[in-house]
């Protein structure tokens, strides 16, 4: 159960970003989670909602995008999504394939709105 620590890290990253954009209020933060990242997105969303609830960040929603593990074939350079842990290249049948992501835990976007009067 490290989703609480991860949720706190996301909020910390939002704080830093908002400091660069004074006068804005964050409404959504999007993160990408690889299927090999050992992060449960439901549990992460639960933790995130819990830590922002009742705070100045209460309007902020977490949006998660879970992406599958992918591999690249060394033989034919085909890029493919790994299904059921099958690492054999579906194009040429080679077993010489290398991981291409899958353990992502990346910040993708932050949606903000202006806090008060829009600046012209």
């Amino acid at each position: 159960m490290h989703e609480l620590s991860i949720a706190e890290s996301i909020l910390e990253a939002v704080r830093k970003e908002i400091a660069l954009h004074p006068g804005t209020v964050p409404t959504r933060v999007g993160i990408k989670i690889g299927s090999m990242a050992a992060i449960d997105s439901e549990s992460l969303t639960f933790c995130f909602d819990a830590i922002v609830s009742g705070t100045e960040w209460a309007k902020l929603k977490l949006e998660t995008n879970v992406v599958p593990a992918r591999r690249i074939c060394n033989n034919c350079r085909n890029e493919f999504v790994v299904v059921d842990y099958n690492s054999i290249c579906p194009a040429c049948g080679s077993s010489e394939t290398l991981p291409d992501g899958g353990d992502e835990l990346d910040l993708e976007y932050l949606e903000v709105e202006n806090a008060g009067t829009p600046v012209a």
């Binding site: 050992a38 990346d106 976007y109 932050l110 949606e111 903000v112």
Partner: protein, 229 residues
């Protein structure tokens, strides 16, 4: 008015920054740093005890051992005369870069060859945190299930070595080592695997020779880094 700002950074950016700085320190000092991860009770401490007892005495080793509570493991490991420090997380289920950095503050790395980090017993959370190690190592004992690599794929995906422990018990338990190893290689094709027993005669040979090879690689990396300056 809504605006979408594009962010291109890692959630654990701060941890990553600390880990990269630790990794550079380890490389520059020729230290091989290994992060041992398993469920509670898979035999991390027993493997380390026997490793410390068997290592060539000229090898300089130190251990950081993480637990939620107690310094029992540090006391078990300190008997071998090498520096050992307990990291008590007080509830946190994993070690992070900051904890390692803090506990290394007063330890000179220049004379060290090998640093073991024994993570908190947990197959999930420690896999998300880079500690600046050269390799993560996952342990699984033969009294667990062969399908653990499929149930907990992230740690098998991210580890360079899988140590199958307690293999002296294989005759007494319904566990197929071949199946466990095949499952690990489904998640991580080409994964290195060694079988180990902390009680059988010669049970650590494969593990110790893997260690020796990796210590040599770390020394070469140090020479290369120095030559490049």
């Amino acid at each position: 008015m809504q605006e979408r700002l594009s962010l291109k950074s890692k959630v654990l950016n701060e941890n990553q920054r600390i880990a990269e700085s630790l990794r550079e320190r380890f490389r520059d000092n020729g230290v091989l740093c290994l992060n041992l991860i398993s469920s509670p009770g898979s035999g991390k401490t027993a493997l380390l005890e026997k490793t410390l007892a068997h290592l060539d005495p000229s090898t300089q080793v130190a251990v950081l051992t993480g637990d939620i509570q107690t310094d029992n493991d540090a006391r078990r490991l300190a008997r071998f005369g090498f520096p050992v420090k307990q990291i008590t997380t007080g509830g946190t289920c994993h070690l992070d870069g900051k904890m390692i950095e803090k506990h290394l503050e007063d330890w000179p790395l220049e004379n060290l060859d090998l640093l073991f980090i024994e993570n908190v017993g947990n197959l999930v959370c420690p896999s998300s945190y880079d500690l600046g190690e050269n390799s993560k190592i996952v342990l699984l004992s033969v009294t667990e299930g062969e399908d653990k690599p499929l149930k907990y794929p992230a740690i098998f995906f991210k580890s360079d070595l899988f140590v199958l422990t307690k293999v002296d018990l294989l005759p007494y338990v319904p566990f197929s080592a071949e199946l466990a190893e095949a499952n690990a290689r489904r998640v991580h094709p080409g994964m290195e695997i060694v079988r180990a027993s902390a009680v059988a005669e010669g049970g650590l040979n494969a593990w110790l020779s893997w260690l020796d090879r990796r210590i040599d690689v770390a020394r070469e990396a140090q020479s290369l880094a120095m030559a490049g300056r």
